[in-house]
């Protein structure tokens, strides 16, 4: 497909991620940080996030699998995941973590297990989405095109701050 088409697809896809709440304004900040001196910044950060999160999720799974669940540890992991997901703009993951933490406080094993599932689900979803989006970007760049910017008005419609203004 030609570059223009790819670019349009990318824009639409990216917008949908924001509209559906997978990503929030923080992600925009990351995109804005990327520049010529660091053209792969977003890819790097996102990869780092994936690696870190997977480790956290594993730790969480193990921690909740114990006969005597150490909720403090679980909470610490979730807190960490919440921090990194919020830093990257993975909004739904972050929200799932918030819910998770409240159940941790209650020491509710069943609920926390469910939360873990929820978090995992959200994580895999956003991972998938981000990978798709980044792949699209790569293709455009490989084809000689540039990454299009989303118009300012869009951010206002979805009530989000952060667009390049």
């Amino acid at each position: 497909m030609e570059v223009g088409q790819m670019q349009r697809r990318l824009v639409d896809y990216t917008k949908s991620l924001f509209m559906e709440g997978f990503l929030d304004a923080q992600f925009l900040q990351l995109q804005q940080l990327q520049d010529e001196s660091n053209p792969d910044f977003v890819v790097e950060v996102v990869s780092l996030f994936f690696d870190d999160s997977e480790k956290l999720l594993n730790d969480l799974t193990m921690a909740l699998d114990q006969p005597n669940v150490d909720f403090k540890k679980v909470d610490a992991h979730v807190h960490q995941l919440k921090g990194s997901s919020s830093s990257i703009g993975a909004q739904r993951v972050k929200n799932a973590c918030i819910a998770f933490r409240s159940f941790c406080e209650e020491h509710n094993i069943d609920a926390t297990l469910r939360c873990l599932q929820q978090v995992k689900q959200e994580y895999y979803l956003v991972k998938n989405k981000l990978e798709t989006m980044l792949r699209l970007e790569q293709q455009i760049v490989a084809a000689g095109g540039s990454i299009p910017m989303i118009e300012l008005g869009f951010w206002r419609t979805i009530n989000m701050k952060g667009g390049k203004e």
């Binding site: 940080l33 919440k82 990194s84 830093s87 703009g89």
Partner: protein, 700 residues
């Protein structure tokens, strides 16, 4: 990229504020080049922050562990302008790091967390954070962090100016030389001025402000002692800067200097009394006779960590130092304790305990124990020392007591520690103890009865002190090392009668009595922060000299009880001895042989937590608070005391002042005592490989 060269950015920044006319080329560039250290265990956040900060044109250094950050800061005191740290980190609580930095380096610290609960934010405030950011951090929030740097500088300058010491003339030329405030030329200026200042510190008078370039008053040990004495005299509630200033009667000191110092001191006290997260009773208790906890020493925590035998804890608690200071500033979570130790106990705060060694009656015990040695601790230590006084330990607190001219000799292994902090000073604190060199502290001939601490966890080994490697400034009592040190088993617990202390310390018999030296811990008290700001000048523990006289008295302090011990007694020390810079906050331990005073042997001796607290407490109860006079154990026979002390602590360091009065008694327990690095200036003989500083350099 942080400039380890210590760009004098700060100075220029402030100077640019002041000298508008002069070279304000610097001002143009500011805040670009601001040297930021960012600490976060989350790699994603760390990377993002780094990028954002770079986008703000700051000079960024990132670090994912608090310990690494702290050692970086210690190695390069002037290398950073501001620190941003996450609250939740696995190796060390962010607030602890905050405290350490505040005490040791006095840099502005911004906390950040995904946690926006009011309590957490409040904690940041009480611990002295200059700002609190909620994650996710936006770049806009980072763009303005330079204001904290300027604000801090401005306040310092204000004091400076008001004291009339600002030498604009001097500065200006320097400033205007460099267009870039971070230029090395500037830096050189600052450095030289700083160095000059350091030199002057030795005089422990601030009268020579003209050479001081940095708008900081160096609160030397003696100065701090005077301060604390004045505060005590007035009563902490009634202590107002004006009156304190009058009482102190230090030429060149301004009311503003005192005011800011008082503020820090109060903050410290407050923190000890209730804010600490881990109210290690020990910590407070050390000073608190009632509490029977070792004040600064987080005995409980220690005990919890298994380092401190439960009974020791009890004993220590029983000892209850008179100081009821709040939890010693070592609110280090149990888990951290070890870390802390390894870190050094930067927090030897001098403050509250007021233990000025010389004057204060109280002993500041440096608790090397994972908690930072708060001055209180020192105090307690001091007290204990005092009580031990009988034991032939010159209690640090002497102030009143001092009587003992014959400080307890620490039999401790001598010279190990020597290397570190203690400068040749008398502190004989088990030089061994201090020696960060992994030598078993007492191994030197010390007849340490102390059996290696049980449960000395990994810290025990001397090098285990991280401090040694890292920060070293702390008096690292080699206590840690010596697992063999007997007496590690000293429970910190202040046995009420110290009798429980088994004088294990058999510190080297050779050392006998030489330990007089003082163990200089250099707790990093924030108070002294200024002092040492950059260099842990050598603290002379002069005063502290706990002499452990193992052979004679049954107190054998074990130099280092494996890590644990080291009660750091901190105190203001020495005035006399070699270095004037007795950093009050930093207790210097001079382990080992020193002949006279304890001078922290260079180095970082990490004073292992002063278990002394316990012992000191015991005694200190009597002395408590301000009248250390009773340190000498009327109640306890010297031997009892010593032994109790030793038992608990493991090793015993005492700081003696020039008169031979014990200033600080540091008991090392199983926990390593870490002295604050900055307390000690780089030891001349860094054999121990500490970052410690030699006492000689302690700025006064």
């Amino acid at each position: 990229m942080n400039s380890s060269s210590g760009k004098s950015y700060m100075s220029t920044a402030s100077s640019s504020v002041i000298w508008k006319a002069g070279g304000d080329v610097v001002a143009d560039q500011f805040p670009a080049g601001l040297r930021v250290l960012v600490v976060d265990d989350d790699p994603t956040c760390l990377m993002i922050l780094e990028k954002m900060l770079k986008a703000c044109q700051y000079n960024v250094t990132k670090c994912n562990r608090a310990e690494t950050a702290l050692s970086m800061l210690r190695e390069n005191r002037n290398g950073f302008d501001i620190v941003i740290s996450d609250v939740h980190m696995p190796d060390m609580d962010g607030f602890k790091l905050l405290e350490h930095i505040g005490l040791e380096m006095d840099l502005p610290v911004i906390m950040m967390s995904a946690d926006d609960g009011k309590n957490v934010v409040m904690k940041g405030v009480t611990h002295g954070a200059c700002d609190y950011l909620i994650k996710p951090v936006r770049i806009e929030a980072l763009k303005n962090i330079w204001q904290h740097v300027v604000r801090k500088r401005k306040n310092e300058w204000k004091d400076f100016e008001q004291s009339g010491s600002v030498e604009e003339g001097d500065r200006q030329p320097k400033q205007s030389e460099d267009a870039d405030y971070s230029s090395s030329a500037n830096e050189g200026n600052w450095k030289s001025s700083k160095r000059r200042k350091d030199d002057e510190d030795e005089n422990d008078e601030r009268d020579d402000t003209s050479t001081l370039k940095k708008p900081r008053v160096v609160w030397s040990v003696e100065l701090h002692q005077q301060f604390v004495a004045a505060v005590n005299q007035l009563g902490i509630e009634k202590a107002v800067p004006k009156k304190i200033l009058e009482l102190m009667n230090v030429p060149g000191l301004t009311r503003e200097n005192v005011a800011s110092h008082l503020q820090k001191y109060r903050l410290y006290l407050r923190r000890l009394s209730g804010v600490s997260q881990h109210p290690s009773n020990l910590n407070n208790s050390f000073m608190n006779p009632q509490d029977a906890t070792f004040g600064p020493l987080d005995l409980q925590a220690l005990a919890a960590t298994g380092q401190l035998p439960a009974q020791s804890l009890a004993t220590l608690q029983a000892a209850g130092l008179g100081r009821s200071t709040a939890k010693s500033g070592i609110p280090i979570p149990l888990v951290d304790q070890r870390n802390i130790f390894s870190f050094e106990n930067p927090k030897l705060r001098f403050g509250e305990a007021q233990q000025h060694v010389n004057n204060n009656k109280q002993m500041n015990l440096l608790h090397g124990i994972p908690t930072t040695m708060e001055p209180k601790q020192l105090a307690s230590l001091h007290h204990t020392a005092q009580s031990m006084g009988n034991m032939n330990m010159p209690v640090l607190s002497h102030g009143s007591q001092s009587s003992q001219n014959n400080p307890l000799l620490m039999q401790m292994a001598q010279p190990q520690a020597r290397g570190q902090m203690l400068n040749d000073s008398t502190v004989g604190l088990a030089p061994r103890l201090l020696s960060p060199m992994g030598q078993p502290m007492l191994s030197n001939g010390m007849a340490t009865n102390v059996s290696p601490r049980n449960g000395v966890p990994e810290n025990i080994r001397a090098p285990s002190y991280n401090p040694v490697s890292q920060t070293s400034s702390m008096l690292n009592f080699p206590m840690n090392h010596t697992s063999e040190l007997p007496g590690n088993s000293f429970p910190l617990v202040s046995t009420p009668g110290i009798s429980s202390l088994a004088p294990k310390v058999a510190f080297q018999e050779d050392v006998n009595s030489e330990i007089k030296g003082s163990v200089g811990f250099m707790p990093s008290y924030d108070i002294f922060n200024d002092l040492n700001q950059h260099k842990p000048q050598n603290w002379e523990l002069q005063n502290v000299g706990m002499m452990f006289n193992t052979s004679q008295h049954s107190n054998s302090l074990q130099g280092n009880l494996d890590h644990t011990q080291s009660v750091l007694v901190q105190q203001g020390f020495s005035s006399g001895q070699n270095r004037n810079s007795t950093v009050i906050s930093k207790a210097m331990f001079s382990a080992g042989d020193s002949t006279g005073h304890v001078n922290a042997q260079n180095g970082n001796q990490h004073l292992n937590s002063l278990l002394v607290d316990n012992t000191v407490r015991v005694k200190s109860e009597r002395v408590a608070d301000a009248a250390p006079a009773n340190l000498y154990p009327d109640h306890f026979g010297q031997e009892d005391l010593m032994s109790a002390l030793l038992k608990q602590v493991g090793s015993f360091f005492s700081l003696y002042d020039t008169d031979g009065d014990i200033i600080l008694l540091i008991l090392t327990s199983k926990f390593p005592i870490f002295l604050q690095q900055d307390v000690i200036t780089p030891a001349e003989n860094n054999d121990f490989d500490f970052d410690g500083y030699s006492i000689d350099n302690i700025p006064v």
